[in-house]
Structures are given as C-alpha cells and as structure tokens.
C-alpha cells in the first residue's frame, strides 16, 4: 500500500545552508497493518507524513501509495488517503454535518452518498447527538470524532495519523486508538507517528524508528527486543540512538 524508497527532504535554512529533515528513508506498509513511525521531536516524522500526504514535495527519492507515484499523481493519492493530526483544526462556525459534507464534496462524492456515509460513520463513532450542532459548541472529545469522520468520509484505503493523540486526554486518545484498530480490521493500511514509546508498543504491528531524519531501525517489537537484549522500549530506542551516533556500534550491529 505504502512504499517509500530513499525519501529525502531538504529545507533551505540559511542562505546556502540546507537542513536534511528526512534523509534517505525507506520502508513499506501493507494493507491491514499498523506501522508506527517512532522518533523524538524533530526526528522528521511530520515532514515524512506531510510528504506522503502530498503537502510537501520530496527533494529526492520516491514513494508510491496504492500504486500511485507521489510526484506524478498527487491528486489520485489524496483520494486514497485519510489524514489526521493532533493539532488538526475544524471550521468552528460550521456544524459537524456541514463540515463532513464539505470535505465529501471536495472528494467529488454525490450528496446522497455523503449522507449514507455520514450515517455509517455515525453508527461507528456515535455522533447522533451533535451532528447538527455547531462545532464551536462541542467538547474536545466530540470534536475529535468530527475530525475522524472528516478524515474517512471518502472511505480511504490508507490512513495517516500524524501525532494524532498528542495533547489529548486519555479518554479522547482512546477514541483514536480504538478507531485505528477498527481501521486495521477493515483491512486499511495505517501509518501512525508518535514520540511516545508506550503508544507505539501498544498498537504497532511494525515500528520504523527514525532519528535526525535517518532510519534507525525497522522491525517488530519482538525483533527489536531480541536484537538489543533490552525489555523496555525506551531502553531499546536509546540503545539504537547511541549506536547510530557511535560508528563502531553500527558495525557491530551489522555483523549481528
């Protein structure tokens, strides 16, 4: 579903100098799989997510989503993609239904189909009580549900969550987590980024660790545990980071 090869993004910082936010990143994510992009703040997670959601253009490398190339068919990719981030805002003066309908229309969905889809999402997220209320008057949890509904109104096969639980209280975050699991059961491909190790531990089928824009390690939770001999994900992460910074460790890892 998602295939990333040598993806690189440079930002021109000062005149002449460039910052590599993402450096030669490659990984895969398949249907029915939850892949977690794990890294500290500034590791390049958001930049990667933005490139994959066609908001930013990669400097080099390539990626395909549902077989469409990022650079060649961004419009087609957007139709296959649901995007949700932690600081996603909503148009507060619209009602929940108006907002979802607006995004549905932007995906060229006919009005009848949008109404059907809202019905379905409502059944899933239980939104009946506030569908026709202005978003301004909704609680954080309700707003989060509206955001989710917005991201799946066109029933995309690929879901991208960029720090989607950051800054949310436990109950609201739980909504998202259970929604992610339901995406998986529906056979969607889920890419989830976070800097919270526990969260990654709980939901990931596979983890892609990145640090300073570069891939640190890719694998399942169990593989990483075995690889490092550590039980705690925090310790595993720290071990990989220190190995990247000290070249001799890297050689030893490769020998393994």
């Amino acid at each position: 579903m998602i295939s990333v090869e040598g993806l690189t993004k440079e930002f021109s910082q000062k005149e002449g100098e460039n910052l590599k936010a993402v450096d030669n990143l490659s990984f895969q994510a398949n249907a029915g799989e939850i892949v977690v992009l794990l890294g500290v703040n500034g590791a390049g997670k958001t930049t990667t997510m933005r490139m994959l959601s066609t908001v930013l253009q990669p400097t080099s490398g390539r990626a395909t989503i549902c077989g469409y190339d990022l650079l060649e068919a961004p419009q087609k990719i957007r139709r296959k993609l649901g995007f949700l981030s932690g600081d996603t805002g909503l148009y507060r003066r619209l009602t929940a239904r108006e907002l979802i309908t607006y995004f549905g229309k932007l995906y060229d969905m006919p009005g009848r189909k949008i109404a059907e889809r809202i019905e379905l999402i409502d059944g899933m997220l239980d939104m009946k009580d506030f569908l026709d209320k202005k978003i301004d008057s909704l609680s954080t949890g309700m707003r989060q549900k509206v955001s989710i509904a917005r991201s799946i109104v066109h029933d995309p096969p690929v879901m991208i969550f960029d720090e989607a639980t950051a800054g949310l209280d436990i109950l609201t975050a739980k909504n998202i987590i259970s929604f992610i699991h339901s995406c998986k059961t529906e056979g969607k491909c889920v890419l989830f980024s976070t800097h919270i190790m526990r969260e990654a531990e709980r939901i990931a089928d596979r983890i892609v660790m990145i640090h300073q824009g570069r891939m640190l390690k890719e694998g399942t939770w169990a593989e990483m545990k075995e690889d490092t001999g550590e039980a705690d994900l925090d310790d595993i992460f720290i071990k990989y980071v220190s190995s990247q910074n000290a070249p001799e460790f890297e050689v030893m890892n490769e020998l393994d």
Partner: protein
C-alpha cells in the same frame, strides 16, 4: 482546474463568513446603522446651530464723530434691522478698547464713522471692525454691508434727484446670475470628490478582514493541512478564496453606498434641497462598477498574498495597515483640484481609478483613458493573482511557522550585514535620514547641504557598517584595480549612457509632464549659486561618484548577490533609483544604477563605477554650460528631443560595450566572492 470545486469552496467560505457575527456586524450592520444615525445627528445639530446664529442678537457699537444727515440716516437704517442691537458711543480713546471687545466676541462689530469732502460732496467713511473667526460676527458684518450698500443707494439717489437727474442713470449694468450647471453635474462634482476615496477604503478594509481569515486564519486554526490533503487542488482553493474576498468586498461596498445614499438624501431633504430633478447617473455607475472589478481583483490578490505569507492573523493585519495607508493617500488625489486624468496617471493604480471616477461623474468620459485604466489595472491584477497562486504553492511560505532570521535581526545575535533584510533595513534608514536631515540641509544651503548629505548620510553609514562588523572593506566593496581597458570601456559608454538617460527622462516627461517648479530646481542645482565650475564639479560629480558608489555598488549590491547576479544588479539598480526620492528621476536613475551594477559585476572594481558615475554627473553639468557649441547637443538642448537614430545607436553601442566587458573579463581572476566573516 475544476470550477464546481471552486464553487464548493466559495460557498463554504461565504457560509463560514456570514456565520461570523463580528465580521457581519463590523462590515455590514454597523455602517447601515451608523450612517443614518450620524447624518441625522449631524444635520440636526448643524441646522440648530445655524438657526441659533441667524436669530441671535448681535451687539454693534457705532462711534459717530460726524453726526451729519448721511451718518444719521445710516445709523437709523442699522437700528431698523431686528437682529442688530445698535449702541452708539461717544467715548474717547475708542479704537483700542472696542477692537478688544470685538476680538473677545463681547460685541460682534464696531463701526467708526468719519467723513471728508471731495468735489463739494460729503463722503462718509465707515471703518468696520469684525472678527473673521466668529460665525456670529461674520453674519452681523454681512448684514451691515448689505445695509450700508442700500443706504448708499438711497443717499446717491437723493442727491441725483436734487440735481434733477433720474436715479435710473445708475443702472448702467445689471448682473443677473443664473447657475446653469445641471443638478447632475453638481451632484457629480460632489460625489467625484469623495466617492473614489470611500470606494477604495471600503474595498481594502472589508477585503482585509476576510483575507486575513482565509489563509492566515487557517494556519491559526490548524485547518490548512486538512484542506491541502483534501482532493481540492491548490489552484481551486486559491480561486475559491479569491471569489470570497471579492464578493464580500462588493457586498460591503454596496451596503455602505446604499446606506450613505439614503442618509444623504435625508440630509438634503431636511435642508429643503429639491432632488426631484436629479437623475442618478446610472450609466456612469455601471462604468464605475466595471472599472472597479480589476481594482478589486488587484486588492484581493495583494491581500491573499499577504495572508498566505503571514504566519497568523495578527501578523497579517499588521501587514495590511500599509496597504490601507497607500490606498488612502493615492485615492485622496481626486479631492485636490487641478489633477486630471491623463495617460500617465492612467497607468498608476488607485490614482487612475480615483481620477477616472471624477471624470465619469462629471460626464466627461474619455474612452481611451477608460480603457487604459482598465487594461493597466487588469495587467497588474493578473500579476498579483499569479504571485498569490505561486505563494500558495510554495511550501516554505505555507509552513512558515518557525521564527525567521528577519526577526533575529533585532535580537542580540550577530546580524549578517550582507543579508538582504539587513541591506534593505540600512537602505530605508539612509532614505529616512536623507529625507529628514538631508532635505532641510540642502534647503538651507544647497552646496554645503549636498556635501554634508553625501559624506554623513551616504558614505558614513557604509564605513560604519564595515568598521563595526570588522569586515575587510577593500574586499567587500571591491576596492581593487582592474584591467585598464575596463576604464576605457566605461569612458566610452558614458556619452551613450547620457543620451539614454536623457531619452528616458523624455519618456517620463511625456507621460508625466514635469512641473515648472521642478525644472527651476534642477536649473538651480546646475548653477549652485554661481560657484566656480570646478567646485560645482566636485559637489555634483566627484563627491556623489565616490559616496553613492560606496553605498550602492560597495555595499547594497552585496545583499542580493547570493540570489543571483542579475537579480542583484536589477534590485540594487532599482534601489538606486528610489534613493533619489524623486518620482521623475526614478526611471533614468534606476537604469543608470543597473548599468553601474553591471559594470561592477563584470570589472570587479568599484573604481570603474566611480569613474562612470562621475563622468555621467559631470556631463550633465558641463553640457548645460557649454553644450550649445557642440553640434548634436545643441539641437537636443534647443528642441528638448533626442533623435530616434541617436537613441537606437546608443542602445547598440551600449550593448557592444556590455559584450566587450563580458569578453574582456571572462577569465578575470580577481577575487569576487566574499568569504563569510
């Protein structure tokens, strides 16, 4: 580009906008309520005040030294006027005391009567003291004047009757005044004065509210990303937002104008002015509306660009203030008498609309002017739209969330003196100093002022910057020798550059005729209070050649070289043009600046550009002194026209010299790059 989608976006934005109570109240409801309220309030107060002045008793003191038949007749007539309360006085030392009373508004006028005799007739002389700043005194005085003139008529008639001459003899000329300006024209003249101003201010200010919300607002709310990943393309998004700004501006403008129109009718009705004959100039209004569309697009594109550039709504509104100020200043031009639309003004946005509107409302439409205004504004609007679309596609602009170094400029960190922001900051500072210090210095003493300006305001800042930042000035300012042939080429180019500068001045003069006072000022500059020629040359040619070159070619151009040589040449050239703070010399000076920039980049030596600059300035001076003896020059000076063949030849010659400069210096090993330090 899919218009259905643009329409979906437009509809959503309008819905969102109309649900925002604050926007609706400030932009639509407030004006509707405010105009009638203010106008009724003002009209009531004004008419009440007027009646009060009319009916109030005015105290007039009359000092009658004469007490002749004539003076008594005048005093009696004055006393018969109801609103005048006449008091006679016989006090000595009247002059000072009564004048003070009038000045303090204790009494409204003071009349001193004396008389002389000429040709056997007594002549009464009335000296009237009144206070021009007091409405009551003015009203009293105009009544007194009327009474004096009618009394004079009565006395003269009486004298003629005594001589058996009919008083009809005095009716040699009767003036009957009829104002034939049709009511439309009166209304047009009135509207033409302030309508453009109102329209432009309303369009800009209402557009500003919406525009800041449309992109900067989306950044604030965190909705920008969601809309970018949706299936709408960026072009469709920009188009939808564009339509929203323009529609909302027009709605606001219509609401305001409608409310203003009703209120004005009400006031005029209260003033008992007959408006039944006044036809609203519908055709003119339609033409104004059509002319407004390109202008509204231009404003919308600027506002959308500002909004896209801004990190948040607050930043956006601070960028919009200058736009509003420019709009106000430019649109005010129609209020001043004497400004009329010509093809030169038709090219300048806002000013052209303002003057066009005046022309239209007076019913003097010139189709050529109308088309030039619309087409030129449309071209600018097109450029504006392109800029806002490209900004919206630029990720570095859309996600400009981190603090940029433009702000660090003010911080403690070591500023990069060659960054474009720093250079522009220095340029603006020099410009301000030039305006606030240099101009008064030069007004006081032209030659001394010029010397002080060049040394203290132009050269000193560069020296200070290089000194304080410990920069090697010789390297940075390219104070280095170069091949002698470069100097020869610069000298060879001088006369052609001079002809082209003169020709560009001629174009400017054709579009925007130079005022007489301007030419006199230039003449004065050339003569410099009759200084000896070598001193004039020092002040006009040598000094600017050194100081201005150090600033522009020695420093300013460095700020833009990182983004490309040609960009640096053109930007520094335009800044050089702006530096002259002279609208008429903007074009010639900018062209000159571009040429000097090219010289510098090719020869890598500031000494060449200094020489070229000095030659150019001195040729102006020398030719104005001795030009009459040189064949081609004398015809130019006489006719004020540069022959076309000379213009074409000069362009060709400069191109050849430019090519030679490129060839000669192609393998130059002179250091050009500036190592960071």
């Amino acid at each position: 580009m899919n218009w259905t989608k643009t329409l979906i976006i437009f509809k959503k934005e309008m819905l969102d906008l109309f649900r925002d109570r604050r926007t609706i109240i400030t932009s639509i409801i407030l004006p509707i309520v405010l105009y009638p309220f203010i106008s009724i309030f003002v009209a009531t107060i004004a008419s009440r005040q007027e009646t009060k002045i009319q009916e109030a008793q005015k105290i007039i003191y009359v000092y009658d030294q004469v007490e002749s038949a004539e003076s008594l007749q005048l005093v009696t007539s004055l006393q018969q006027e109801d609103i005048l309360h006449i008091k006679t006085t016989r006090e000595q030392g009247w002059n000072k005391q009564f004048k003070e009373l009038v000045e303090n508004n204790d009494i409204q006028a003071f009349l001193a009567l004396r008389d002389t005799v000429s040709s056997g007739y007594r002549r009464l002389i009335v000296t009237g003291y009144y206070n021009n700043t007091d409405d009551k005194s003015l009203k009293a005085y105009s009544t007194i004047r009327d009474i004096i003139s009618s009394t004079k008529w009565e006395i003269v008639s009486g004298r003629l009757n005594d001589l058996n001459i009919s008083s009809e003899i005095l009716e040699a000329i009767n003036l009957e005044s009829v104002n034939i300006a049709p009511p439309q024209k009166i209304l047009g003249a009135l509207l033409g004065k302030f309508l453009a101003y109102m329209l432009i201010i309303l369009t800009i200010s209402s557009g500003a509210v919406v525009a800041s919300d449309l992109v900067a607002g989306e950044k604030d709310r965190g909705t920008l990303e969601t809309i970018l990943v949706s299936a709408a393309s960026r072009l469709e998004l920009v188009a939808g937002k564009f339509l929203t700004i323009i529609t909302f501006s027009f709605i606001t403008v219509f609401m305001n104008l409608f409310s203003m129109y009703i209120s004005t009718r009400h006031i005029l009705g209260m003033a008992e002015m007959d408006l039944s004959q006044v036809q609203m100039p519908i055709v003119s209004f339609m033409l104004i509306f059509i002319a407004m569309i390109p202008l509204a697009i231009l404003f919308a594109s600027i506002q959308l660009s500002l909004s896209t550039w801004s990190r948040n709504v607050k930043e956006c509104s601070s960028y919009q203030t200058p736009l509003l100020l420019i709009g106000m200043m430019f649109s005010m031009i129609s209020v001043f008498p004497g400004f009329e639309l010509n093809y030169g003004f038709a090219l300048i946005p806002i000013i052209n609309f303002s003057l066009l509107l005046k022309e239209l409302l007076l019913g003097d439409l010139n189709v050529g002017h109308y088309l030039v205004v619309i087409i030129s504004t449309l071209l600018l609007a097109g450029i504006g739209v392109m800029i806002s679309i490209s900004l919206f596609k630029k990720e570095s602009v859309l996600f400009r969330t981190t603090e940029e170094k433009s702000l660090k400029f003010w911080g403690k960190g070591k500023a990069d003196i060659f960054s474009s922001q720093f250079v522009i900051g220095v340029f603006i500072l020099v410009l301000l100093l030039f305006y606030y210090l240099g101009t008064p210095w030069q007004a006081k003493n032209l030659s001394l002022g010029l010397i002080k300006t060049e040394l203290l305001l132009v050269l000193l800042p560069v020296l200070l910057i290089y000194h304080l930042s410990h920069t090697d000035i010789k390297k940075a300012a390219r104070m280095q020798s170069t091949k002698p042939v470069n100097f020869l080429l610069a000298i060879a180019a001088a006369p052609f550059g001079f002809f082209l500068a003169a020709f560009s001045m001629q174009i400017v003069n054709f579009l925007y005729p130079l005022p007489e006072s301007y030419l006199e000022g230039m003449q004065k500059l050339m003569q410099l209070h009759e200084l000896p020629i070598w001193q004039s040359l020092m002040i006009i040619a040598v000094l600017p050649g050194i100081c201005e070159e150090m600033l522009f070619r020695g420093y300013v151009i460095r700020g833009f070289e990182k983004s490309g040589t040609w960009k640096a040449i053109i930007i520094s050239g335009i800044l050089f043009g702006l530096f002259h703070l002279d609208f008429f010399r903007l074009l010639p000076a900018a062209l000159m600046g571009i040429w000097l920039g090219y010289l510098l980049i090719k020869t890598k030596s500031i000494f060449v550009t200094m020489l070229a600059h000095m030659l150019h300035n001195s040729s102006t001076l020398v030719l104005s002194q001795w030009g009459e003896n040189i064949p081609v020059i004398s015809t130019i000076l006489k006719t004020d026209q540069i022959p076309v063949w000379l213009v074409l030849f000069s362009i060709a010659a400069l191109l050849v010299i430019a090519w030679l400069l490129d060839k000669v210096n192609a393998e130059s090993r002179l250091p050009n790059e500036l190592s960071a330090g």
